[in-house]
């Protein structure tokens, strides 16, 4: 069979991925150099010592703060958010009325299509101590207004709860698709044996979902240190930086705003390496324990 046409079709994709994904990987060497724009990536001299920028980061007072903030933000997000789509999917799957099921699905998918910018904007408005919806409700019940985004201790709850609102519905898709593949005869047999709905969920649906759950958990755990930059950055105020300063916002600050190219790249590379180590470790463990692997 003649394959050249298929290779031809792949050329544009190959060029784009190569230029915009692999060339920057080559550019990562500036983490070990003192990058000067006039000399370019190749021409800039190697740092002395080679790990200068990494040492600067490890020794800065920001280091432990950033690592802890990044870890806590994503760890708490994982713990609180991960189970919810599974539960919602199991519930939706049990709805006998298809029309109601479709309606709920359409509505809970909606927040996923709202931009991070709009979500952050809504949070700024809703959480405002002056006439924000959330504080209006708190006042209605006799409570005092809270300046949520002006207080570091509220940053993570706001980030996590808004994330649950935005992504839980979308997260059900993969589980619902898996559930729709469950053999009907299993339900029928269980019903004949006198199993009620809760028992059918526990003994049929949950085991059917388990491989998907494990794979998604590995992927999420492997991404533990790669918190998205956008939302944290947009919810950041001068007053909540104690919790909202994470590695990703620091990379942006140092790199784009302060043009410390080499230093910012070193911090980013440190983060990427941690991610890969985490992912490989978690995958290795699950391979040994549960015989499930990404690769």
């Amino acid at each position: 069979m003649n394959h050249w046409e298929f290779y031809l079709l792949l050329v544009p994709m190959f060029v784009i991925i190569f230029v915009f994904k692999y060339v920057p990987m080559y550019g990562v060497q500036i983490a070990f150099k003192d990058f000067k724009a006039s000399l370019g990536i190749m021409g800039s001299p190697w740092s002395d010592p080679l790990m200068k920028h990494f040492m600067k980061f490890f020794n800065s007072y920001n280091f432990s703060r950033l690592v802890i903030n990044t870890f806590l933000l994503s760890f708490e997000t994982l713990i609180f958010s991960f189970p919810l789509p599974i539960i919602l999917a199991l519930m939706l799957n049990q709805v006998p009325n298809k029309k109601f099921q479709r309606t709920v699905q359409t509505v809970v998918y909606a927040p996923h299509f709202i931009s991070v910018m709009v979500l952050a904007g809504m949070l700024h408005i809703f959480l405002s101590p002056y006439g924000g919806l959330v504080n209006l409700v708190i006042n209605m019940f006799g409570g005092e207004s809270i300046y949520f985004l002006g207080d570091a201790k509220w940053f993570r709850p706001v980030y996590i709860i808004s994330g649950i609102w935005q992504d839980t519905g979308w997260g059900t898709i993969i589980y619902l698709a898996t559930l729709s593949g469950v053999n009907v005869e299993l339900y029928e047999a269980a019903t004949v044996d006198g199993a009620n709905k809760l028992q059918r969920i526990w003994h049929i649906d949950v085991p059917a979902l388990l491989p998907t759950i494990i794979i998604l958990f590995i992927m999420n755990f492997g991404n533990l240190m790669s918190v998205g930059f956008e939302k944290a950055y947009l919810l950041q105020t001068d007053l909540n930086k104690g919790a909202s300063d994470i590695i990703a916002t620091y990379v942006y600050e140092q790199g784009v705003l302060k043009t410390q190219y080499s230093f910012s790249t070193a911090v980013g590379l440190f983060n990427t390496v941690i991610n890969i180590v985490l992912l490989v470790t978690v995958n290795q463990i699950s391979k040994r324990v549960g015989d499930v692997s990404l690769w």
């Binding site: 394959h3 544009p12 994709m13 190959f14 784009i16 991925i17 230029v19 915009f20 060339v23 920057p24 080559y26 550019g27 919602l88 519930m91 049990q94 709805v95 298809k98 309606t103 709920v104 359409t106 509505v107 809970v108 998918y109 927040p111 299509f113 709202i114 931009s115 910018m117 709009v118 904007g121 700024h124 408005i125 101590p129 002056y130 006439g131 919806l133 519905g169 993969i174 698709a177 898996t178 729709s180 009907v184 339900y187 029928e188 019903t191 709905k197 998907t212 794979i215 998604l216 956008e230 947009l234 790199g255 784009v256 190219y261 980013g268 590379l269 990427t272 991610n275 992912l279 990404l294």
Partner: protein, 306 residues
């Protein structure tokens, strides 16, 4: 399917008390989820057509008060917002077109199990999901290829999402029979001709899903514009929203405490906040229900298993 059969069964057999209790609890909980999800959106909608002072006094929790289109009128008079809207439409249309064509075409080529080197090409792609050069090296690359301050910086670097590519490939693998394309090539059609005339017309579901995924990503993107463009007349809507929604809110929260007349002065800004959220979100909220039925058919499963 199975739910239908179960429902049919349920009609024959009396439903047990515990199952009935389960159903009721399930409906109540789902109704609660429905409310929690929809109410913030509904609140924004009614606030956008209400008097801002009534909104901040908490009088618009159920229905609009002091009805007016003022916020929307101001939005369409604001040159920054209209410009941003136009920019976003151009970036989204052009970007989706480029991305969908590239993704479907490469996805189809990679669905050919007999293609020599297919495994290596997949590895080449998958590797980029786990390792990347990071912010600054990517920024330098985009600058070095001369895309800085051009529309291409917002379209080409992220034109191909590996995740979407795998979804497309999985679709072609499981929905386009080898025998079909082989028959076409025996009839003298070239591979590319077969793809254009036979495969793609059979693949409208995946094309529709790809259009929605890419369009949403492009429409909602602001970060690329923030770092790759410096001209204010290139700003997409989402970036214009940043100054309306985020910067002004953070400063007004602080100013309110100090200046008693601040609220009065801010009235115009407040009026357009809610309306701008609606205007920015409605296009994407309208399109996804059209492809929703394909989401649950397992289209996305392939991407998870790589």
């Amino acid at each position: 399917m199975e739910a239908k059969k179960l429902a049919a069964k349920a009609k024959v057999k009396p439903i047990s008390a515990s199952d009935k209790a389960f159903d009721i609890a399930n409906y109540v909980l789902l109704a609660f989820v429905l409310f929690i999800t929809a109410y913030p959106l509904y609140y924004v909608l009614i606030a956008s057509v209400s008097d801002p002072f009534k909104v901040y006094a908490g009088q618009t929790m159920i229905r609009p008060v002091g009805f007016s289109w003022g916020g929307y009128e101001r939005i369409f008079q604001d040159p920054m917002i209209t410009r941003g809207y136009l920019n976003s439409i151009v970036y989204t249309t052009l970007g989706s077109f480029v991305s969908v064509v590239l993704t479907c075409v490469s996805g189809y080529a990679l669905s050919k199990k007999t293609l020599p080197g297919r495994r290596w090409i997949m590895l080449f792609l998958l590797f980029t999901m786990y390792f990347n050069g990071g912010l600054i090296p990517t920024y330098l690359t985009v600058r070095d290829v001369g895309m800085f301050n051009t529309i291409w910086a917002l379209i080409i670097p992220n034109a191909i999402s590996v995740y979407n590519l795998i979804i497309a490939r999985t679709f072609f693998e499981s929905n386009i029979a080898e025998s079909l394309t082989e028959a076409a090539s025996i009839d003298g059609s070239s591979n590319i001709g077969t793809m254009v005339r036979i495969v793609m017309p059979l693949s409208t579901p995946i094309i529709a899903v790809m259009v929605v995924f890419y369009a949403v990503g492009l429409w909602n993107n602001w970060f690329d514009a923030l770092i790759y463009t410096t001209k204010s007349d290139m700003a997409p809507l989402q970036l214009v929203l940043r100054s309306i929604l985020i910067k002004s809110q953070a400063s007004s929260d602080m100013m309110m405490g100090m200046d008693a007349n601040y609220a009065e002065k801010q009235k115009v800004t407040e009026m357009i906040k809610f309306a701008s959220i609606v205007v920015a979100s409605v296009p994407m909220l309208i399109i996804y229900p059209f492809v929703q039925k394909y989401f649950s058919k397992g289209i996305m499963i392939g991407a998870v298993k790589g």
